[in-house]
Amino acid sequence: MKQNYAALFAQLKQHGLDPMGAVTASQAELYRMPYQTQQEIKGWLIAENFRFHYENNAYYRELSESYHVGIDDIKSYEDIIKLPLIPVKRFKQSNSHQLLSKGLGDIELESRSTGTSGIPSVTRRCKRTMDRVFQAVAGVYREFFRFSKGGILFLMPSADEMPEMGMVKALTVLSGMVDTAPCIFKEMNFSSEEAIDILESWANKHERHIVGPPFLINRFLQYLEKNDIRLHLDRQTRIITLGGWKRFTGMECNRKVFNQRCAEYLGIKEDQVRDMYGLVEGNMLAVECSKQAKHVPPWVHFSVRDLDNLAKEVPLGERGLLAIIDPLTETYPSFILTEDVVYLDKTIECACGRVGQKVNYLSRISGAELGCCAINLERQMSEKGTLEEDACLMNN
């Protein structure tokens, strides 16, 4: 069976079609393929992508040469460990133009995320990359949420208010999949009464979903609790979170308590809460299934590195520093050493029926700034005085 996909992809390319596009358009099938097949597919895509950046990016070629990695050294899944990684901090540097494998004239979109340092991490994407990102992200949403109707209440800034914020851009893609998707967060604030009114007006009309960073949905739950209001949302309701559970104060939202509160005050089951993991420098989202396992897209490789020897991967189940190896972008090499400490589930099969890597976020690496869109948003709300503390849902 091995090499079948390599030959197929080479043929697709010869015929002017994009193998990456074929893969992101086949997510339902891909998530259920044997892991060995997934490895063959991602290995080919990553090797192709490496070749592209090596040939078109002087900075990355020089980096590769400094690691004695040449164009013929990355051919398949087994070679991925040799890929030179770009530290995620590099995206914050003022000479980040060196990361580009395409000219600035080809760039279509800049997205950013800002942490506690106030220095934004900016990623730039060209047309081809944007084509692929939209298809991949929309496909992931379809695969995990199956949205084609209903209503989404966004508890986060609108793309109109914060067009460049990566988290907002990624979540806003959901809005086109449903019948109505209002955003009631304006000028760094929202009214819980208005949220309740909207959700109640949708009863018997739309399946109701809530989307936003955990701390804002948390704030809505706090209001419901304080006023002893219990909503009864729908069997298909999804509470979708992105942005991390760490607060800008360094405290953390307790996921388990959050799930329980969602169940109690929104009238849903705990498994209807679905968190996602992603970062603006990446081009992917790891989305939770009904078993609350975060699935890494099959074309992406999560390489968990030994904290004492970053050249080495740790076995499944062991904690380490996450490297994201994503063949989707042509704009910059998305072979990124993050500052996130994670572990992968020991099993490749999931009870939900999907196959592949499943990631569990643990913390930021020691010394790294707290950094993500949600934390920046929370900081801005704090400065504006619209942030309300919620001691009951936080722990150290």
Binding site: S94, H97, L104, R112
Partner: protein, 119 residues
Amino acid sequence: MYNPIIIKHFTEPTHVGVLTSPDDVIELGNPICDDRLIMHLKFDEARRVLDAKYQAYGCATAVATGNLFCEYVLGKTPQEVLSMPEEEIPTMLGELAPSQRHCIELLGQLFCHFKGYRS
């Protein structure tokens, strides 16, 4: 999306860096999109800009604005810098897309800082 002026100054920056003993440091930021610009200036005895370096964090247009302004002020006195008619300042950046136009304000703030040197 990017005009040739922005492409040139972003991809071929000539003034990125810091000065070891600057005579003045300009720090500008945009709290909404988090663009940050730090500019170091050194003047000679005739109050001409002897050297100018910048560090910029944010969108490509903001980064390009830093380099363009450094290039513009080099060798000029504050009076000469400010001889640029205000209505012509935005044209220095070329034609900008709506999402890039916040950098006109950034450029305006840099010029504004030079007004302080006149007294």
